[in-house]
């Protein structure tokens, strides 16, 4: 199956796109997505390791199984609010 993964902030800039496609086997999990992204984009690997993954706008555990209808996003450590 083909998954679309949304990218933000420094992860987006390191990968150079707002979104990327991953071809993964059925039954893949959030952990599979992390390792696929880390292999394809070694420049973003460390930050992805510190990032969360959201499935359908909710934070998801590594064990979460994903499907090609799910909305997937990498959420690097957030920093909203004032400064």
């Amino acid at each position: 199956m083909i998954l679309q993964v949304q990218l933000f902030a420094r992860v987006r800039e390191l990968i150079g796109d707002e979104c990327c496609s991953l071809e993964l086997s059925t039954g893949s999990t959030v952990a599979t997505i992390r390792s696929a992204l880390g292999s394809r984009y070694p420049q973003a690997k460390d930050l992805i390791a510190r990032s969360a993954v959201a499935v359908n706008c909710e934070f998801a555990a590594n064990e979460r199984v994903v499907d090609d209808v799910d909305e997937i996003a990498v959420i690097p450590p957030v920093s909203g609010g004032g400064r």
Partner: protein, 141 residues
């Protein structure tokens, strides 16, 4: 009221929005763009969000407030795009019957927002240097 906006935040309107006859206390928090962090000078911040998830999580925070305190009105608004020093990036307004609850609920809302809502800022320095802020889990921000 939950909102992401690219326009300046009308904090007075938010404060008015949450005022109710049954509420004796309103607390409004504004987060603004500060010029110095330690010795590092900021000339602007650029905010980006994952909008669908950010709005959903802000709505969840508002629900948590209503579960935990007798909140009559709550408004959470975050601005996106480039902000100059002194501009308001986030506003939280909460009304409750009594003041300790208004302070506690407002504080909780901004703390949670900064912890979990998918919004990010890029610090823009005087030499045009730019840095996304992605704090370590251990860092206070």
């Amino acid at each position: 009221m939950i909102q992401l906006t690219r326009d300046p935040i009308d904090h007075a309107a938010l404060t008015e929005l949450v005022r109710k006859p049954g509420c004796g206390a309103v607390v409004t928090f504004l987060g603004t763009v500060r010029d110095l962090t330690g010795n590092e000078e900021t000339v602007a911040l650029e905010y980006e969000a994952y909008p669908a998830m950010a709005e959903q999580m802000m709505a969840t925070i508002a629900d948590e407030l209503r579960d935990r305190w007798p909140v009559a009105g709550v408004a959470l608004v975050h601005r996106l795009g480039r902000l100059d020093v002194g501009e308001v990036s986030v506003a939280v307004a909460v009304s409750t019957p009594h003041r300790p609850d208004a302070f506690a609920a407002c504080r909780y809302a901004i703390d949670r927002l900064k912890e979990v809502v998918p919004i990010w800022k890029k610090d823009i320095g005087p030499a045009g240097n730019q840095e996304w802020i992605h704090p370590d889990a251990s860092a206070t921000n």
